[in-house]
Symmetry: C2
């Protein structure tokens, strides 16, 4: 399990590598909203009580944030719990995953012993989702899984296309699962989320992890409109899986409009800047991104080797070769603040535009 | 799900009942160890990193606390996650649960669609586990589940008996799952835990929740010696289910020897005092306990009615009638500090020794 993901800074530390600039996990560089720390201190003694097993207040707040009712919301221990619960509840016989993408979809459905098929996005199309081509395949499946914006390609499917896709799938009895863990990094995301469709055939997964920089807190949620299915998913859920701190984070961070605004402005500018700067490197192909990470294809060095060289320079990148549909020439970089991005750019330039590698 | 457990103070609050003395959940009244709060503040920014997906340091500390290696330990989001993982991994066709007991064992195994049989402890024996009678039943099962000390009866099975039981079960290919969530409240528990047996046929579940008064933190762990099985259980596990705060709690609280000593002394005296005091009530039968809660049988009022009357007095008790094998005459009380215990005793006396009910 531990080799499926980026960011294993702990193993590096155990190997004596010391502190490192982590470009392998895609976390908002502004760090944890300050309002949250104060709240944790003042509400600390709440740990002596069980969390509300129904999480009503928390779900109400998330409902307001997303323009839906609390009954449309299920909360979990990271988006991961929600994904695994969805897979258990839907009892699919066949699932199509649009890949390359986050590895946990496959793990979640594998646990339920269903058939998994990968629809592979093509490099020749810069990994853009080609709706017409996908529909031509005419998959007979119970669920189609999409990550939107997609990890690791950074591409985003418009709401219009999601709607068209969903209408098509619905006719065939195929449900649509959309992971929007990174959506807050997409410009104008409030207008573009699939939550706006409020459709019974769709289930949307969200998390605080990336945008609010709290991978340590483990908080995610799911949004659905099929009340029978929502009940089923609650029945599979283990009680109290969201701890008191995670509950607090969910209630407060989404209301920190200053933090949200600041982060939206930063990513809008920085993804443009980083893309343009990286595009000047002659031995790297850069794929345009709509979110806070960026996929790169290396022309003259293997991802694994570059990762090792960069660790020596104090930078950890994501070797993306184990994503289904990618190969040993791909890496993924987080987008952080200008200073760090510049530093990473400089080191890459030294290493990959140097013919003597 | 929400009706299976005690302690739903949130629902009462939503119903306008205000703050209440919670005798329905069995939490150490000393509250959260102070050392932990300081640590949370100083380590707060660690939330910006994912927890170690392998939780090596944490497992090493727990290993030391229990005299085993870190490979014998799996950590989880409360004991509940461990129970559910065990049930998924063991793939039992038939399970015997020694009841009345904690409801989540049944839920965990039901999720795997196995056959569940309850071995019912008898009131005539004060709910003590009768080893010879149990062995005579000669169950053909894949797993026997024991809670030790048992919730809600408060009875504890000696290590000698656990050993005898395990030897018998092992011959038949039946595994033994022991939940020791409350063991630290048992006098001399260090000598009495099943972990001392270090047997491949046994899997022990533990939690910080009760003894360290942190139900809000969600931290539990499992201890096993069958390396193949331990690997299987890790494969079913969702990544990062223990958040950074829970990880910190696991690393520190178990080293707080002052807190541990103080709590051991308190429960040793208080369970005796509370038992003796409650035993003076003529309309209540009190069952002797070896842990921090106490089962009572009401002779002249229904549990549900008494619960309602006590809520009006500001006390929440656990109506124990929904435990398999109990009925509407049973309640369970936590044991807290002397002042509160006395208050609860007085209110009970007023209500149940008053013939005009």
């Amino acid at each position: 399990m531990q080799d499926l993901h980026g960011g294993n800074i702990y193993r590096l530390r155990r190997e004596g590598k010391g502190e490192i600039l982590d470009y392998s996990s895609n976390i908002n560089p502004f760090g944890i909203p300050k309002s949250f720390k104060e709240l944790v201190i003042s509400e600390f003694d709440n740990l002596e009580k069980y969390p509300d097993i129904e999480y009503i207040e928390l779900r109400e707040e998330l409902g307001k944030y997303n323009g839906v009712g609390f009954k449309n919301i299920i909360v979990g221990n990271g988006a991961t719990e929600i994904l695994f619960l969805y897979a258990k509840s839907v009892k699919a016989k066949k699932v199509v995953i649009v890949s390359p993408t986050f590895a946990e979809y496959e793990r979640a459905f594998k646990n339920t012993e269903c058939l998994i098929e990968h629809y592979l996005l093509e490099e020749s199309k810069e990994f853009k989702f080609d709706m017409d081509e996908f529909l031509e395949k005419n998959y007979q499946a119970d669920v189609v899984v999409l990550c939107n914006p997609n990890n690791p390609t950074g591409k985003f499917i418009s709401l219009e296309d999601i709607k068209k896709l969903n209408e098509n799938l619905k006719k065939k009895g195929t449900k649509l699962l959309i992971d929007e863990a990174f959506i807050e990094f997409v410009e104008g995301w409030q207008e573009k989320t699939a939550i706006n469709l409020k459709d019974e055939n769709i289930f949307v997964v969200r998390a605080l992890t990336k945008f609010f920089a709290v991978p340590g807190i483990r908080f995610g949620y799911g949004v659905g409109w099929n009340s029978e299915f929502m009940e089923k998913i609650w029945n599979f859920k283990e009680p109290w899986s969201v701890n008191t701190f995670a509950e607090l984070s969910g209630k407060t961070m989404i209301k920190d409009s200053e933090y949200i605004k600041m982060s939206e402005n930063w990513i809008k500018n920085e993804k443009k800047w980083f893309f343009e700067r990286l595009s000047t490197l002659k031995n790297i192909k850069v794929y345009k991104t709509e979110t806070n990470f960026i996929l790169l294809k290396l022309r003259n060095i293997e991802a694994k080797r570059l990762r090792e060289l960069l660790i020596e320079k104090g930078i950890l990148i994501r070797d993306a070769s184990n994503f289904k549909g990618l190969d040993s020439s791909y890496i993924r970089l987080a987008i952080k603040n200008r200073e760090n991005n510049f530093f990473v750019f400089e080191k890459l330039k030294e290493l990959v535009d140097n013919e003597s590698i």
